[in-house]
Symmetry: C2
Subunit: 498 residues, 2 copies
């Protein structure tokens, strides 16, 4: 082992330990902090962000990094140093003052967004969004980019990805989705989704969600489940402390059910990361797209499959006696795979979901380019929504105020959701080759071999490879929309009797 390497790793671990505290500050604010705590919390967040940034880009870190790069390293060490260099170069270009300003603005803007959303008043949020866009544009200018500023932001969440590739992928996906939607419209045998809108008492939903988490092998000794306005997953202390949240709608059960399975997928990835590399890049997820592939895999590829519900539909029936006594498992399966344009992204079906992402991608790209100002977002949103999905949100709460992302400065983040859908389908395709009894395993509720496949191929790899390389290594081909289109077309054909 090289001393130079160890010294660098020690430094990085201490910086990442510090950063990890910000995740607790944030989780606490989302889940349970009292209202008036926001004043002090803003200062705490800003301080941690500033301190860890300053320590990362310090001369000390730089010289440790240079020494490690000159040392004899094995392949794993090389990967770790490569990723540290990547983060260092990116962060060193952003002034600490801007980092702190971002942290403060985000902490404040989240509160403003939550209130504006509650009161369905976009104007309350508009100035905060303007400020955030301006800050993120400044980040892009500091970091630098080849084609357009959005590249610099996208790269933070999906390393090495390019806006123009996303644009091409999304254009193809958009037109094929539109074609499939037209076919569905003409189908005569449509599933009845109204059974999902019956009355499902919250407490029973909570119990059911907990059961499903156990089925999916969520490790409760290394995590928690709580309630928040916007469901999320966060890692507070490495694989040993991974927390998810969900929300409950008594007249729409998929919200908690699939939200929980979705966040559980994220959590399984985090709980499976190599703890021996805690607080170094090798101990982190490869990209947000890959992260999303894990959540979408468990939410959709497993959680919306007929095989899965053959094993677990009884749990739903038991949780809500008499509510579903007239509905067979096939009807349930049809309902949860019912495809129809709707307003809320996190509750959209698998097919139209990607159109929600295309919309957000186009809007935020325009904002960062300077082609769209915050004030005009509601109008632009509604116009584009109608074009893509054929419907117009009745208000901004169900329109442009629904997501927390922009308030937090997560701009360039949305495309990773659709990348996740594509990765998940491509992984599923390969998994079924490796495990020919895949469907039988799911029906028998033997999900451990499936989790282990993901653990070995993805989770245990941490950030050793780029996401695109990892997908290529595992599946033998580059990322494309074909596996997803095949997967979703096949499912829709069975549900709609096409």
């Amino acid at each position: 082992m090289s001393d130079a390497y160890n010294l660098l790793i020690e430094r990085i671990k201490s910086i990442n330990t510090l950063s990890s505290i910000a995740f607790l500050l944030d989780w606490d604010q989302e889940v349970l902090m009292p209202e008036k705590g926001v004043f002090a919390r803003t200062q705490q967040m800003s301080l941690i962000a500033g301190l860890s940034h300053k320590r990362l880009i310090s001369d000390e870190t730089q010289s440790l990094l240079e020494n490690a790069e000159d040392a004899q390293l094995n392949e794993l060490q090389q990967a770790n140093v490569r990723e540290i260099r990547r983060i260092f170069d990116r962060q060193a270009r952003i002034p600490t003052k801007l980092v702190r300003e971002l942290a403060e603005t985000s902490t404040n803007a989240k509160g403003i967004w939550a209130k504006a959303r509650e009161r369905v008043n976009f104007e309350e949020f508009s100035p905060a969004l303007t400020k955030m866009i301006e800050l993120k544009r400044r980040v892009a200018d500091c970091v630098g980019y080849a084609d357009e500023p959005y590249d610099a932001l996208l790269d933070e969440y999906e390393p090495y990805a390019k806006t123009k590739d996303i644009e091409t992928l999304f254009a193809d996906l958009g037109s094929k989705t539109a074609a499939l939607l037209r076919t569905i419209e003409q189908a005569t045998d449509k599933p009845d989704a109204s059974i999902l809108n019956r009355h499902y008492p919250q407490q029973r939903q909570e119990t059911l969600c907990r059961q499903l988490l156990e089925v999916l092998n969520f490790d409760f000794s290394s995590g928690r489940v709580d309630t928040s306005v916007h469901p999320f997953c966060t890692t507070i202390g490495g694989p040993g402390d991974v927390r998810i949240t969900t929300r409950y709608l008594e007249n729409f059960i998929p919200s908690s059910l699939f939200g929980t399975m979705h966040e559980c997928g994220h959590a399984l990835y985090e709980q499976g990361l190599p703890i021996e590399h805690l607080y170094t890049p090798l101990g982190e997820f490869a990209s947000l797209g890959l992260h999303e592939s894990q959540s979408r895999f468990w939410e959709n590829c497993i959680g919306r499959s007929l095989s899965f519900w053959k094993a677990h539909y009884n749990k739903v029936k038991t949780a809500f006696p008499n509510v579903l006594s007239d509905a067979s498992v096939e009807q349930w399966y049809g309902a949860i795979n019912h495809v129809t344009p709707s307003f809320i992204r996190v509750e959209a079906d698998e097919l139209t979901y990607n159109l929600h992402i295309v919309l957000r991608f186009e809007l935020e790209r325009a904002m960062i380019r300077g082609d769209l100002d915050a004030k005009s977002v509601p109008a632009a949103w509604n116009e584009k929504f109608e074009k893509l999905l054929g419907i117009v949100p009745p208000n901004d709460r169900e329109g442009c105020l629904q997501d927390i992302h922009w308030s937090m400065g997560l701009i360039g983040y949305f495309p990773t959701y659709t990348l996740g859908n594509l990765y998940a389908a491509q992984l599923l395709e390969k998994m079924k080759v490796d495990m020919p009894d895949f469907d039988e395993l799911v029906t028998r509720s033997e999900l451990k071999p499936i989790l282990n496949w993901l653990r070995e191929n993805i989770h245990r790899q941490g950030r050793r490879y780029r996401a695109s390389t990892l997908i290529q290594n595992i599946t033998g081909k580059p990322v494309s929309i074909e596996p997803f289109m095949n997967y979703v077309t096949a499912k829709i054909s069975t549900v709609y009797g096409l």
Copy 2:
């Protein structure tokens, strides 16, 4: 305003912001962190402790402090600088390495203590206690002391207090308490406390505690109530984020009821501190003894008074229909003021409570002196317990394993509990002179004027004065045991018909 002063204050604010994060890390660990989170949490705690210590004792802080001391300052500024100097001098003598070792040992030892307590196995905890005593003894040696090492530890919690004064005060209090106990033993008209051991379902206790918190003017927009093994109050983000915990015993209602009012008293102090001095000494409590005076005031002087229950006993009856239908408010008052030697400090009556403190004070002082080793604590505890209270704990869970304090390194802390009892009684005495209709206010549940008296005289003063000076200023005389003995004797006379 002096520039030198402002620069110092800015520095101190940033250091205290950092330290405040440790309170969230700690609260989270106590209340809801998943089991396997402890590995990363230990590192997070150690890092924050080390960083804030390093920043406090840095040359930069020192020179800012010296500049501020040379500047022209008003009285408030002088007080702030005086207290910063006090903390600086103390902390500068403790090496950062020792501070981090303490933080790590404490985070680990808390977990070990909780398990040992659960399994009623002192031996599991003994090595951690040995280690902690050794570290605290090293702290005392670094800080320095005039008479004995315990002085250096006591001073952390009750600034300017001396072991020998505590010893004198406690000796007097101990003998007067023993005499009063003998009188009680001979009383023929003893209250029946068994009504407190009836079945009180937890959920209804929770509702009742919430109602009482509202009665006591706890500000829920600036705080939370949760459950933990050992009830506590902690301040995470200044007066805007003050959190208390409690615990529920279904067959002993005083545990949650008076525990909640106790922690609420602490919270009211914190919620009332001057936010304009947030993260500087002027914005902090004066001493832990004074803090405890606030909790004991609301728990005992208010919460165990007949006036209070004349207004609120109906709430208890409503919360538990039929459980107390045979008990009058006078019987309830008698039961909650029943005096009898018992094992658990936090559930002890007002009179014998102080004997629990005398015991802990003597044991920890002996440990720090080197006269008692950790291994011998159970035997020493039981022997002393019998001498002071006439009974022997049936096991260590109800004996020397009951308190979290030693595991956290809180040694020199226990005496502040009894100081709090003395301060509270002395404040009450003066309050009744200032507000002759005090009892009527309580009976009418008009507690705002009482809270405002405390706000003005104590809370808003922050750390402007030493605790002993503040008590002298408010009551016109130095701290003594007389007001407490008068208060407790009068109460016992009514309860026991003496």
